[in-house]
């Protein structure tokens, strides 16, 4: 078991290194010289030269890369070219907002997707399965920013039940948080619900064929007990390993959802940075996302090894 975990760790290191190369390369192909922005209107050649030297842009690329990597390793992910604020601070400010949205949408997705997947598997081939399939296909196909616009149109503009935009932290005002988070969380959760439903269905179908489920049925257990206690519990493992896939879907979805509902989160941070040509922030955000993703994958892998008795030798 420890060998397996160590193996995962060893594989993650070159991946992390390559991510840094990728992000560094991305910064190099970005259009426009960031120094021109910093040098101001006059663009005095002497000032430019001074800045170039100060930031090490006159060094060969590999040297620049190593210098940058050393900064990253000491926790300096760069700074905004506009305000000079460190990227990690900006991420720290926006991340709680996105986490609140993400948790709410995961709850909604689980509440819709898992029961629907179980039902579709248990009633395979019936109209229940067909309806669940249509719903999940629609959930996968609907662009979530459009779903957001339609919801705003109906719920906020026509019915005036919920506000169309804004953000309230659940720590400040739980009721207000519910009002502002409900719609965006549903929008973000709809696609996740569809993914969850499909995976729950196929995981359940795998498990329902197995001997111990038949034994449980033969013992005369209530169908509900068989499905929830015997089948679903064992179908849960493959569903949980989906989490990394869902993480990517969540973050990408959050970019658009936050844009539609004007929520000051992590997704809006990167979009605003792109439009402000603040490449320092773009680069830092991409790096943070990738590192978080790899670390999450690693944790999921290790947890899987720890949980799975067959790998515990």
């Amino acid at each position: 078991m420890w060998k397996l975990i160590l193996n995962r760790l060893v594989v993650a290191i070159p991946t992390l290194f390559l991510v840094t190369v990728l992000v560094f390369a991305l910064q190099r192909v970005m259009p426009g010289d960031p120094l021109l922005v910093m040098a101001g209107e006059e663009r005095d050649p002497a000032v430019l030269e001074e800045l170039r030297h100060h930031y090490g842009f006159d060094q060969p690329l590999p040297i620049q890369f190593l210098a940058w990597l050393r900064e990253v390793l000491t926790g300096n992910f760069g700074a905004s070219l506009r305000t000079g604020e460190p990227v990690l601070k900006l991420v720290g400010q926006t991340l709680p907002v996105t986490i609140q949205l993400a948790v709410a949408s995961l709850l909604i997705a689980a509440a819709i997707g898992i029961p629907m997947g179980i039902l579709a598997a248990v009633r395979k081939g019936t109209w229940v399965d067909a309806v669940a399939n249509v719903v999940s296909l629609s959930g996968l196909s609907i662009p979530n920013f459009w779903l957001g616009i339609i919801l705003i149109l109906v719920v906020a503009v026509q019915l005036r039940w919920l506000p169309a935009s804004g953000f309230v932290s659940v720590l400040d005002d739980p009721a207000g948080a519910l009002r502002t988070t409900l719609m965006p969380a549903f929008v973000l959760g709809s696609g996740l619900a569809a993914t969850l439903m499909r995976h729950t269905r196929s995981a359940m179908l795998e498990v329902l064929r197995l001997d111990y489920v038949r034994t449980a049925r033969a013992k005369g257990l209530m169908p509900r007990a068989v499905i929830l206690k015997h089948a679903f519990r064992n179908a849960l493992a493959p569903i949980v390993t989906l989490s990394t896939l869902l993480f990517g879907q969540l973050l990408a979805g959050a970019v658009l959802t936050e844009q539609v509902f004007t929520i000051p989160g992590f997704g809006k941070l990167i979009v605003d940075a792109v439009f402000n040509r603040d490449y320092g922030v773009v680069q830092g955000v991409v790096l943070c996302t990738a590192v978080a993703f790899i670390v999450m994958n690693l944790v999921a892998d290790v947890l899987y090894i720890l949980i799975n008795p067959r790998l515990r030798t």
């Binding site: 991946t15 609907i142 970019v255 955000v285 991409v286 990738a290």
Partner: protein, 295 residues
């Protein structure tokens, strides 16, 4: 029959393919949702291709006498904030979306297929390096990578297609590699190697034909993802630039007129939804029809 079996053992899979292909086609046609999906896709392709001929108005012609008109007999889907006919813009906008879907998947395939073939067939250090690079690319969520690339390349439809295509490369590398590993262990490949068939011929005649089915399915489903991605980038202002019509950028404008002209946001979004639904249904149908296990 014995001749056929002998042929398949030595490795000429093409002799046994036609019946399986026929069976797959029959299975596909029996699958109602797959046929509906194909019909939706064809309808939108036709609308986009024929748009210059059948669209009622010039998609970029402004009409200040008809600003933000609700749907009517003249303008079936209404007009936008500068009096352009929304139906005509939706029809012309289909070109951008469909093109983005197809071109970006083509880019991903052209890079991903050979790289995946090399990784799966050669193994060893090639596989290790390719594997790590794919992991690194997959570590950045697809849309965020596409946004960063589109921002780096500059906002335009072409760059959006390149960005989306590049961010989809790892999916095809992984899939191709996995398929190659599965097929190269088959007896007919071992047989071909044993009798000394050159590697390039084995790859072209035995490996490639046997991995096209899953690649085709993935390409169809990825087209759906790519169309949403293009719409998303255009919605953010990183794709098709105005005044050229695209569904994503139409929605970007429409969201500012929700109170005054709600119809502006209906048609472009519905169009994206339907096309993507069509590709997803088609992809699911192809998977069911081409999967030999699901009998």
């Amino acid at each position: 029959m014995t001749a056929l079996e002998a042929g398949s053992v030595i490795g000429d899979a093409s002799e046994v393919l036609p019946p399986t292909r026929r069976r797959a086609l029959a299975k596909f046609l029996k699958n109602r949702s797959a046929v509906v999906g194909a019909a939706i896709v064809l309808l939108f392709v036709a609308l986009a291709v024929l748009a210059p001929l059948i669209a009622p108005f010039d998609p970029n012609k402004t009409n200040f006498a008809a600003l933000r008109r609700a749907p009517s007999l003249v303008h079936w889907l209404g007009t936008d904030e500068i009096g352009r006919d929304i139906l005509s813009r939706v029809m012309h906008g289909g070109v951008a979306s469909l093109l983005a879907g197809v071109v970006s998947v083509a880019i991903a395939l052209v890079i991903g297929l050979p790289v995946g073939l090399a990784a799966g067939w050669l193994g060893g250090w090639v596989d290790a390096i390719v594997g790590r690079i794919t992991d690194a690319l997959l570590a950045v969520p697809f849309l965020i990578l596409a946004i960063a690339l589109a921002a780096a390349l500059g906002p335009s439809l072409t760059n959006a297609m390149i960005a989306i295509g590049l961010s989809q490369v790892p999916i095809f590398v992984r899939l191709t590699r996995g398929q190659v590993l599965a097929v190269r262990a088959e007896e007919f490949v071992e047989g071909a190697r044993a009798v000394g068939v050159p590697q390039s011929l084995i790859l072209a005649r035995h490996i490639l034909p046997n991995i096209t089915a899953p690649l085709l399915v993935q390409a169809t489903l990825t087209t759906a993802t790519a169309i949403i991605a293009e719409a998303s980038l255009s919605f953010l202002g990183l794709g098709q630039q105005p005044p050229a019509p695209s569904w994503g950028s139409m929605l970007n404008t429409a969201k500012n007129f929700l109170e005054q002209a709600p119809w502006m946001s209906l048609a472009p979004g519905a169009a994206i939804f339907l096309v993507v639904l069509g590709f997803n249904m088609l992809g699911d149908g192809l998977r069911d029809a081409l999967d030999p296990r699901e009998e």
